[in-house]
Amino acid sequence: MLQLNYMTLLATTPVLIFILHVAAARIFIRLPGQAVVIICSLVGFVPMAAAAWAVYFHHTTATRQELIWAGMYGFIVYAALAYSYFHVFNMSETARRIRILYEIYTAKQLKASEIASLYNAHDMLHSRLERLLSMKQVKLSDDKYLLDRRSLYYAARIIAWWGNILGLPFSQTIYDKLKRAHAL
């Protein structure tokens, strides 16, 4: 029963982060949306750990080693579910497919040229550069964009590597065009 309570508690991770997010989105209005979710995920770990202590760790008769494994298990499940919530929110914030779907939905029907007039490559690039600047991932110096913090750059390297393993290389798309244009 204790184990079941612990599972149930961990399964509520997205709900906990969502509740924190509802409040935080209204408090930290000036922060980028993604940053707010990351803060909520980190802050949410504290009440989750406290609740886990109350429903499981405080009552169990498990050995010290079993407790360590149970703690690691809980941490991994929490982190994976928090990461999943981040991506769901990120889809609502940045996904091109969701934006296109929204534009067609609100207009009832649209031609391709009408979609492009409402949301085009120029808008898309502009909103991304704006977000990258606000997240301090890039900076502007003498009218040129430069990397600032490197966390997203390293994530991008991992994703490019992962894509190559799956046979979905960046090479045929934007990155390839960028590389060709700048002979990188």
Partner: protein, 140 residues
């Protein structure tokens, strides 16, 4: 992907536990029901993280392409005017419309795109999420 990583493992666990109870298969994995639930929750959490990361590779995130490009330019940087021609509608917009059609979220008729009932459900979920969070619709 959802079928492969979420539904099939669940069906496997249900099937295995069922056959084990009926003594059709030998009890190799001696898990309790709570044990099986913990196995599935662990799998579900990791599979969700994997599935939700996948579009960044499949659809080539322009943000990731930008930072990769800036990283490769070392300290020289890239001017806005040099980035702009590389992000055209053909590369970043049209494939996404095609994806929506292939996923059955949008249909095309007489050169007009309309959202399917499935697409409506999805977009309404995102509209609701943004409303509850008190945020405007995402810029994409």
């Amino acid at each position: 992907m959802f079928l492969l990583f979420i539904i099939l493992p669940l069906l496997f666990i249900i099937g295995y536990v069922g056959l084990e109870r009926l003594v059709v298969v030998p009890s190799v994995l001696s898990f309790t029901m709570a044990g099986w639930l913990s196995v599935y929750l662990f799998h579900f959490a990791l599979a969700s993280a994997y599935i939700l990361s996948y579009p960044a590779i499949e659809a080539v995130s322009p943000s990731l392409a930008i930072v990769l490009m800036l990283g490769a330019s070392n300290s020289q940087g890239i001017a806005h005017k040099d980035l702009l021609p590389l992000f055209d509608d053909e590369t970043v917009l049209e494939p996404r419309i095609k994806d929506l059609m292939e996923a059955g979220l949008v249909t095309a008729s007489d050169n007009y795109f309309t959202v399917t009932p499935r697409g409506m459900t999805l977009v309404q979920c995102f509209i609701l999420l943004r409303r509850v969070l008190g945020l405007p619709i995402g810029k994409g």
